[in-house]
Amino acid sequence: MDILILSIATLVGLYMAANIGSNDLANAMGTSVGSGALTLNQAVVISIIANAAGAVLAGSYVTNTISKGMIDPTLFSHSPNDLMIGMFASLLAAGIWVNVATYLALPVSTTHSIVGAVVGFGILSVGAGAISWAKVISIVTSWVVSPVAGAVIAGVMFYVLEKGIMRSKHPIEASERYAPFLIFLVVIVLILSFIFKGLKNLHLHISFIETILFSMPVAAAIGILGRKWIRWQMKPSSRSFFGTKDSSAVDRFFSQLQVMTAFYVAFAHGANDVANAVGPLAAIFSVVKTKAVALRVEVPFWMLLMGGIAVGGGLFVFGARVMETIGKNITEINPLRGFCAQFGAATTILVCSRLGLPISTTHVLVGAVVGVGFMRGMGSVDLRVLRNIAYSWIITLPFTVLLCMILYKALSFAMASIF
C-alpha cells in the first residue's frame, strides 16, 4: 500500500515540477530565446543543466514539513494521515492551477500557488487560526512590490545603456568601453545572488562584508578578462557562440551578457523553486515512512535531482514547439532589451530579498518587461494583457485554496472508504 501511495505521490510531484518548468522557467528563458541570444535547444540544455545543478548544489536538503512554514506541523502529530493527504491535495491543486494558467498564457507564481493550496487544506484540517496569515499578507504585498521594483530597475538600466551605447556615434566602441563595467556589474550581481539566494540553503554564514570583499576582485578580474573575450566575439569574422549569425556586433555583445544572466536565473530557480514541487513530496515520504510528523523533513538527493530535471524537462516537453516561434514572433526583444529585462529582474530579486521585501521572480520579470516598454524600448506592449496577468495573480490564492479544499475532502473521503 505504501509503495502505491509513494508512486502516485511521485507522479503528482513530477506533474507539478513539469508545470513549474512550463510556466516559471519558460518566462525566465523566454526573453533569451526571443532576443535570439539563445536558440531553443541551447535554452533547453541550459535550463535542464542549470536548474538541476541549482536544485542539487544549492537546493534545500532540509525543508519545512509544510511549505514555507505556513502551518505548525506539530498540530498534525496525532493525525499524520491528514497531513499526508493534505500535502498530496496541495501538490495536485497547485499543479492543476499552474497548468490552467499556462494554458491561458498567464504567468503566475508557483510559490503562491503551493502556499494557497496549503492554506486551503489547513483551513479544513486544523482551522483558519492555525495559519500564518502574516505570510499571506506578505504575498499580497508582493503583487505590488515585485512588478514596480522590476519595472524601475530594468527601465533605468535600459535608459542608461540605450543612451550610452545605442545612441552614441560609435556603438561598437562604446560597448567595448562599457564592457568591463557591465561584466563587472553582472558578475557582482551573480556572485551576490548565488551566495545570498542560491546558496543560502548551504548555511555558509558568510557576512555581507566578506561577500563583498570576495566578489569585488573576482568580478574586476573577470571584467578585465571579459573585455578580451568581448573584443574577440564582436569581430565580424569570429565565430559567435550565442546570438544569431547576422546580428550586429553590439547585439552579439549583449547576447553574451544575456546568456550569463539566463544561466543564473535557471540556477536560482532550481535552488529555490524546485522546492515547491519537491518539498511537499518529501513531506509525504516522511509521513509514510515514519508514521510520524517531524518539524522539518530531509529531502533526499534523488528527489532534488529528479525535480530539477523534471522542471527543465517540463520546459522542453511542453515548450519545445512554441518557444521555437518566439524568436520570430517577438521581434521587439533585441539582446539589449532582453538583457535589461532579465538582468534588471535578477538585480531586483537580489536587492529586494536583501531588504526583506517579499517578491516573486515571475512578477518581477513581468514588471521588468513593462519597465523597458515604458522607456519606449519595446516595439509595442499590450498593457491590457497586464490587467489579465494582475487578475491571475490575485486569483491564484482563492483558486488554489478552494481547489485544494475540494481535493482534500474528496481524497479524505476516498481514503476513509477504502480503508
Binding site: S22, N23, A26, N27, G30, T31, V33, G34, A101, T102, A105, L106, P107, E162, M166, R167, S168, K169, P171, S248, V250, D251, G314, L315, F318, G319, V322, M323, I326, N329, I330, T331, E332, I333, N334, L336, L365, V366, V369, V370, G373, F374, R376, G377, M378, G379, S380, V381, D382, L383, R384, V385, L386, I389
Partner: protein, 221 residues
C-alpha cells in the same frame, strides 16, 4: 505551453505601415506609366492602369483601417500614437492624390496639349522620388525602432532632407508649368483642367513631405 509573456508583446504596427508604403509606391509607378501613355495618342492601356490604381488604393485603404482599428488604448508604443496616426494619414493622402490625378487625366481623353507635355512629364517625374523615399524611410524607421541605433537615425534624417529638397524642386516645376499653361493655352476649359491637374500632381509631393515631417517628429529627441 507557450511563452507566457509573449501575449504582452503586441504586433508592431510598423510592419503594416511598410505594406501601406509599398502600395503607395506601386501606385506611383503605375501613375507614371499611365501619364506617359495618356500623353501619346491612342492609349489603350490607360483604363486598365486606372483600374489597377483604384484596386491598389482600396487595398491600401484596408491596410490603413487595419492599422487604425488595431491600436486601441493601452498599447504602449515607442512613438506617440497621435504622431503615428498623423503620419499614416499623410501617407494615405499621397495615394489619394495619385488616384485623383489619374481621374483628372481621364476626364479629358483628348490628352495633354503637346506644347506643355514635356513640362507636365517633368512635374510627374519630380513628384515620384519622394514617394520612393517614403517607403525607404518606413523601412529605416522599422529598423530604428527595433535597434535604437544612432546611425540609423542619421540615415533617416538625411532621407527626410532629401524628400524636402525634392518637394521644393517639384514646387518650382509646378509654378513654371502653371505659368506656361496661362501663356500658351488659349482654351479656357483646357486651362482649368491643366491648372487643377498641376495642383493635384504637385500636392502629391506636398503630402509626401508632410509625412516625412511627421516621421521627423517621431524620431525627435
Amino acid at each position: 505551453m507557450r511563452f507566457l509573456l509573449s501575449s504582452m508583446f503586441y504586433k508592431s504596427p510598423f510592419e503594416n505601415l511598410q505594406r501601406h508604403a509599398d502600395k503607395v509606391r506601386e501606385c506611383a509607378e503605375m501613375f507614371r506609366r499611365a501619364a506617359e501613355c495618356h500623353i501619346k495618342e491612342n492609349c489603350a492601356e490607360f483604363d486598365h492602369l486606372t483600374d489597377e490604381v483604384a484596386k491598389l488604393e482600396s487595398e491600401a485603404d484596408a491596410i490603413k483601417r487595419n492599422i487604425r482599428n488595431h491600436l486601441p488604448r493601452g498599447i504602449l508604443m515607442p512613438v506617440d500614437k497621435f504622431e503615428f496616426f498623423q503620419y499614416l494619414r499623410e501617407q494615405d493622402k499621397v495615394l489619394d492624390e495619385v488616384e485623383e490625378a489619374l481621374f483628372w487625366l481621364s476626364f479629358r481623353p483628348s490628352g495633354i496639349p503637346h506644347e506643355i507635355a514635356e513640362d507636365f512629364m517633368g512635374l510627374v517625374d519630380a513628384v515620384l522620388p519622394p514617394i520612393e523615399e517614403l517607403s525607404r524611410l518606413v523601412r529605416l524607421a522599422t529598423d530604428y525602432f527595433k535597434t535604437g541605433s544612432e546611425k540609423q537615425r542619421e540615415k533617416m534624417k538625411s532621407l527626410i532632407r532629401d524628400i524636402r529638397q525634392h518637394e521644393k524642386e517639384a514646387d518650382i516645376l509646378e509654378r513654371e508649368l502653371k505659368a506656361k499653361v496661362f501663356t500658351q493655352i488659349k482654351d479656357a476649359l483646357a486651362v482649368y483642367h491643366l491648372i487643377r491637374l498641376a495642383e493635384i500632381v504637385g500636392s502629391i509631393a506636398d503630402h509626401a513631405q508632410n509625412a516625412s515631417d511627421r516621421m521627423r517628429a517621431m524620431i525627435a529627441r
